[in-house]
């Protein structure tokens, strides 16, 4: 029974025992010991002190043992750079072995050592390997150049290895070409400059490539191609469409990426309607397959996230496939939520009834977290489509009868948005929302309630009383609610006068003198001054607010473009800026110290 503990210290006895076994005469015993050392290493126990003993095993004839030794060497080279040099001899010997597997292994290991002053040793073997007769060795060598560049960029320049890499772009073996592309893009941080002359050959090569090589080529084309005319783009799209029938979803996604990037050469879509629609029609079956229950939930998530931006740009082009976005009970929450978002995006005159039915069904799900998203979705439809707004509002008001706290809260949340868009149209429901004041515990929703009281004090009979209740426990509220209370208080006080006037005045004084947050104090003082100015303040507080527009969709135009340009990437799935996810060379700590 192995003690499989992370960061557990290895006792002296254990080390001594293992060392003895590593130096044992019997082969099986040595092999067992080596395995154990690697197990401990991989669970994070520190066995770096066994380095010399492990290295001795490299003399073995067994490839399996060699592999284990090299694994160990790679793992501890950074911690024990002075010991890593001991491995160089064996490695250089193996780099000229007759067996290509061994040559490649030695090369891969050397380039993974990540110790700067060992890198000089690798130049000769690497130079030879880039021209090795075996494509297996050449493909390994191509990536070694990128590894070397990661550790000592200057050395790569000096040895002219980048030119060697570019030469490999014309290699007869597709796998070698693909790895050369990967290496070049790794070195340049994403982009590889292809000449237009290379394009036909690369595309023709796709049919002979293994799946990952196809992905590499497709992705690098998406990153690097720029089209001068829509026709160029159309012909590239035409030439890769067949990849959509590949069984590996990674290949399908990479193809989609290239096609979608090419499509943007036809922007704005309205200028080439039939071209764009034709392409979208071609993509639809693949998109639907990726989000249907055939694929994995994880892949569904990735595609759905990106798809939302695509629909925002190109309109509800999948509206005939509503059924593909119906949630299944067994799906994980993160997929269901995205599906509901897409349903909202697919609303059109033809699909609206079906979508409403589905959303209403979803309100009966056991998972209240999910129901919350469904309610928001109903509201969002109302926000985006004025002609369905009444229907949405009726459904929301109807949902209040479920008497579920989660549902009530999200109804209030979306309703506030509807009010800000349609102004007078739904004011009559404000009072019925405020009936639930005691059921609401979420801060964001309480803030909305406070806002409602202030903004609609004319329509709320008991505004003054509600305000008094809010003020009574303002100190227990969070910052956002407190801020909202300040403006709500002044609005109500100006409207109803009387007792609330005094109450609000002393409330503002209390805030100004005791609150920790400087911004809130400023706001309180500002509002106190406004309150002093009496009716003149009306013009400021109750000023006409422009209609808030939610019609365009959830994303800014820039976000949509960024997601489509990086389709399938992490930045696209997380809706973050690509720059935020790019690796920075210097770790955080060292920078802080230099401040």
């Amino acid at each position: 029974d192995e003690p499989l503990d992370e960061d557990a210290e290895v006792s002296k006895e254990e080390l001594a025992q293992l060392r003895a076994q590593l130096n044992a005469t019997s082969k099986p015993e040595r092999k067992q010991a080596l395995k154990r050392a690697v197990v401990w290493m991989s669970v994070g126990r520190n066995v770096s002190s066994l380095f010399p003993d492990v290295l001795k095993c490299v003399q073995s004839e067994h490839l399996e043992i060699k592999k284990l030794v090299y694994l160990f060497v790679i793992h501890y080279a950074e911690v024990q750079p002075d010991l890593a040099i001991l491995a160089i001899n064996a490695l250089t010997r193996d780099a000229v072995a007759p067996n290509p597997i061994l040559r490649a292994l030695a090369l891969r290991t050397m380039s993974s050592l990540r110790v700067e002053n060992l890198m000089d040793y690798i130049c000769d073997p690497l130079g030879r390997a880039l021209r090795d007769e075996s494509p297996y060795v050449r493909k390994t060598a191509a990536l070694c150049v990128a590894k070397l560049h990661d550790i000592v960029p200057a050395l790569v320049e000096e040895q002219g290895l980048l030119d060697e890499l570019k030469r490999l772009l014309d290699d007869p073996s597709p796998t070698v070409v693909a790895n050369a592309i990967s290496a070049l893009s790794d070195v340049s941080g994403g982009r590889v400059d292809f000449s237009l002359a290379q394009l036909p050959r690369l595309i023709a090569m796709l049919d002979q490539c293994a799946e990952w090589s196809q992905i590499t080529i497709l992705e690098s084309l998406s990153e690097s191609l720029h089209f001068s005319t829509p026709e160029d783009a159309a012909s590239v799209i035409e030439s890769v469409t067949s990849r959509l029938n590949h069984i590996n979803p990674g290949v399908v996604n990479a193809t989609l990426h290239l096609i979608i990037v090419s499509l943007s050469a036809m922007d704005p879509p309205s200028r080439h309607p039939e071209l764009v629609q034709g392409v979208l029609r071609k993509l639809s079956p693949s998109l639907i397959s990726l989000v249907s229950s055939g694929g994995s939930a994880e892949m569904r998530f990735v595609v759905l996230r990106c798809l939302r931006c695509m629909i925002q740009k190109y309109g509800p082009f999948l509206q005939d496939n509503i059924k593909a976005f119906v949630c299944s009970y067994n799906e994980p929450l993160y997929v269901k939520v995205e599906k509901v978002h897409v349903l909202v995006d697919l609303v059109s005159d033809t699909s609206i009834s079906q979508i409403f039915t589905e959303l209403r069904e979803n309100c009966n799900e056991p998972d209240m977290l999910f129901v919350r998203h469904v309610v928001e979705a109903v509201g969002t439809i109302g926000l985006r489509h004025a002609r369905h707004a009444d229907r949405c509002v009726n459904m929301l008001i109807d949902l209040l009868r479920l008497d579920e706290p989660v549902v009530i809260e999200s109804v209030i949340m979306v309703f506030s948005k509807l009010l800000r868009v349609y102004k007078m149209r739904f004011e009559m429901h404000v009072a019925s929302l405020l009936r639930f004041v005691d059921k609401v515990n979420t801060d964001a929703v309480r803030m909305i309630l406070v806002w409602l009281v202030g903004e609609y004090c004319e329509h709320v009979e008991n505004a003054a009383q509600l305000l008094a209740e809010f003020l009574a426990d303002w100190s227990s509220e969070v910052r956002s609610v407190q801020l909202e209370l300040i403006s709500c208080g002044v609005k109500v006080a100006l409207y109803s006068g009387g007792a609330s006037l005094g109450a609000v005045r002393s409330f503002l004084e209390a805030v100004a003198s005791s609150v920790e947050d400087a911004d809130m104090r400023d706001v309180a003082i500002l509002h106190a001054r406004l309150l002093e100015s009496g009716q003149r303040a009306h013009a400021v507080l109750r000023c006409e607010k422009p209609v808030v527009s939610f019609a365009t969709g959830d994303f800014s135009a820039a976000r949509v473009e960024s997601v489509l340009r990086h389709w399938g990437s992490l930045s696209a799935c997380l809706y973050l800026n690509p720059s935020l996810l790019e690796f920075e060379a210097q770790p955080r700590e060292s920078r802080e110290a230099s401040t």
Partner: protein
């Protein structure tokens, strides 16, 4: 048909489950069978099933349905059942006090049993889980058992009494004479030791009885103490590393300490005893140290004479150098208490303590920080502040908030110049950013509101140079809290800064540096230059726009640190709009040009989805129209100064209260005198 598994098989099967799901499924199945058996009124397997539930409960599964069965078992005449029943009750019943009341009768029966083991079992249950009502009901039985012939029963009864005294204070006085009587008997070591606990409980629950109790108990206790130190408790099995029964000795010292009530004669008598103890006990072994530790505590809680203090300081010196880290921990902790008694003696160890900030163990580091904080005085405060700020850069995130408060308290107490305090705050903010508590940021702003123009200008300039002027980096390189503060300060003092730069020539500003000798002195900004109005406005707008970036994807970051910063960046938008309004309203060249600029800046936010943002943008746009000049001048006038002194006093008061609560002996024994910081 289902065969009821044995406990062993059940645990085995549970342990054979590979995943958490399998475990859950197994427990649910087994629980369903147990439910069925309970419902059928089975007695054959009841004991075994309750034991299974105890096992499930420990692994976090619901077991409420077993509580009634436990009650039934506990009330059984069969000791085997009874033992399991009581075990089940103590484990399965947590907050449910009503159910607990139901066993009062069973306990009463058992306390009257003839069988020692049954009484012992009932006493254990009563001592471990019982409500005040139960204790009140059963007090007569317990009281009687204090006179039981068997020390095994007596020691348990004493600890139940301890609980009675703690939970039902009004019953305290019944037990005073009983306690004395127990000490007078030639009793068992463990009885003495439990009686010491009881004495402590009595003194805590009713300090007025201390003089009386002292008269009755201190002599016998002293005798027991000396006897044990010299000859041991007559039981070789209680000797730990050559030290006779350290538990009994320590408990005796604790009891004697609380019995003095800090009355001078009593204290002197105790000191005499303790001097002997110090001579008898070796400080090398940890068991010995644990006794000497009690001596040290006595010295830090009572008003003792100087010779004793010296002895204790010497002891602490050896503790601090001890190779056992636990002893080092204890030493740091007690040195902190010694500051109030003999500050000079503690100061000797300053270098060692600073060295402890580099220790690998957070426990040691925390103690060192607390000690440094306490030992600061007018003379060494500056260097201690610098050490702590240096530590602030390197310590773990969760330590930062408390550490910031300490640094601020030191600065507020010992720095005389407001500008020096400001410098400390700026360094603190740059080091800890989002981990600086809101309260300190507020205090800093309050401080600026009462300081002179030069301090304000230099602060704004320094923060502007650090947070606003440079191009925005990646999210994880930004300092959101500093940025937000900088934006808000530019709003309040930006105009002063720009005017100041225009009116004065550069030479008239003397450089403000805080500590000429410090390693990390931060030069406050003093260039005398400021960006022009348009540039500054542009920089603020850039920050506001940047904060919009983070609204959509807020929840796609999964660590608290990232989310905290996001929230902070989003609120920059609110502050930024106000700053824009302030800058324009207070700008001297109030032309149509400014008005246009403002409307341009605010326009996109007038239809912003965020309620607060829209509200502000709309209000400020109205205020910044030309016909609202008068109202604007009034509403956006400079903000009144904060009541800095009040806030400062309140903050220092809270800090003092916090460090007081860290000290021992609160309420019963109060020392005279105290440190500067407390």
């Amino acid at each position: 048909t289902y065969v009821c598994r044995s406990l062993k098989d059940c645990i085995k099967a549970y342990r054979e489950c590979k995943t958490v799901e399998e475990e859950r499924a197994f427990v649910k199945k087994e629980s369903a069978h147990i439910r069925d058996l309970f419902r059928e009124g089975d007695t054959a397997f009841r004991r075994r099933n309750v034991q299974k539930l105890v096992f499930f409960h420990m692994n976090g599964y619901p077991t409420d349905f077993g509580q009634i069965e436990c009650l039934k078992l506990a009330a059984s005449q069969n000791f085997k059942d009874k033992r399991v029943g009581y075990l089940g009750l103590t484990v399965l019943l947590d907050e449910n006090q009503e159910l607990l009341m139901l066993i009062t009768n069973a306990l009463k029966m058992d306390l009257n049993s003839n069988e020692t083991m049954v009484i012992g079992l009932a006493l254990s249950v009563l001592a471990n889980v019982s409500s005040a009502e139960m204790l009140r009901d059963l007090e007569p039985e317990v009281s009687r058992l204090l006179d039981h012939r068997d020390p095994y029963v007596v020691k348990k009864a004493v600890l139940v009494t301890d609980r009675i005294v703690r939970k039902v204070p009004d019953l305290t006085e019944f037990f005073i004479h009983k306690t004395a009587a127990l000490l007078a008997k030639d009793g068992h070591a463990s009885v003495y030791q439990t009686v010491c606990c009881l004495i402590e409980a009595i003194c805590l629950s009713d300090p007025s009885v201390i003089p009386n109790l002292r008269k009755l108990c201190s002599d016998p206790l002293g005798a027991i103490l000396m006897n044990t130190c010299e000859r041991g408790s007559g039981d070789p099995e209680t000797v730990l590393h050559g030290v006779p029964n350290p538990f009994l000795i320590s408990k005796c010292i604790q009891a004697l300490r609380i019995l003095t009530g800090n009355e001078p004669t009593a204290v002197r008598n105790l000191c005499t005893l303790l001097t002997t103890v110090v001579q008898l006990i070796e400080p090398t072994k940890v068991a010995g140290v644990s006794i000497l530790y009690e001596v040290v505590i006595t010295c830090t809680t009572l008003d003792v004479e100087d010779t004793m203090t010296q002895t204790v300081l010497k002891l602490l010196g050896t503790f601090l150098q001890h190779k056992d880290h636990n002893v080092k921990y204890v030493a740091l902790r007690e040195l902190r208490a010694m500051v109030a008694v003999n500050p000079a003696g503690v100061k000797k160890h300053l270098t060692t303590v600073v060295g402890c900030l580099k220790h690998t163990d957070i426990s040691i580091r925390t103690r060192a920080v607390d000690l440094l904080y306490t030992m600061a005085d007018a003379e060494n405060a500056s260097s201690i502040i610098q050490e702590l700020i240096h530590y602030l850069w390197n310590c773990a995130a969760e330590e930062q908030p408390r550490l910031c408060s300490k640094i601020a308290a030191l600065a507020e107490t010992f720095q005389r110049e407001l500008s020096d305090k400001a410098s400390v705050y700026i360094q603190m903010l740059l080091a800890a950013d989002v981990r600086v508590p809101d309260r300190l940021v507020a205090l800093f702003i309050a401080l600026l509101s009462v300081s002179d123009t030069r301090t304000r200008v230099s602060t704004v300039e320094a923060l502007h140079a650090k947070c606003i002027a440079p191009p925005l980096g990646a999210l994880r390189d930004r300092k959101p809290r500093c940025e937000r503060l900088a934006v808000s300060l530019v709003g309040e003092y930006g105009n002063v800064w720009m005017n100041n730069a225009k009116s004065s020539d550069t030479d008239s500003l003397v450089p403000l540096s805080m500590f000429s000798n410090s390693t990390r002195a931060l030069e406050l900004g003093n260039s005398g230059r400021s960006p022009d109005f348009r540039t500054l406005l542009g920089q603020i707008v850039r920050l506001v726009e940047a904060s919009d970036e983070f609204t959509v994807g807020t929840y796609d970051i999964d660590d608290d640190w990232g989310r905290l910063r996001m929230a902070e960046l989003i609120s920059i938008r609110h502050v930024g709009l106000l700053t824009v309004a302030k800058l324009i309203a207070r700008s001297p060249n109030e032309g149509a040009e400014n008005m246009l600029a403002s409307r341009e800046v605010l326009a996109p936010y007038r239809s912003h989805p965020d309620v607060e943002t829209q509200q502000r943008a709309c209000e400020y746009s109205v205020l910044l129209t030309s016909e609202k000049a008068e109202l604007r001048a009034k509403v956006l006038a400079p903000m009144p100064a904060y009541n800095y002194e009040d806030r400062r006093t309140k903050f220092l008061g809270d800090m003092r209260r916090e460090s007081k609560s860290m000290r021992r002996g609160e309420g019963v024994l109060s020392r005279s005198g105290g440190g500067v910081i407390g």
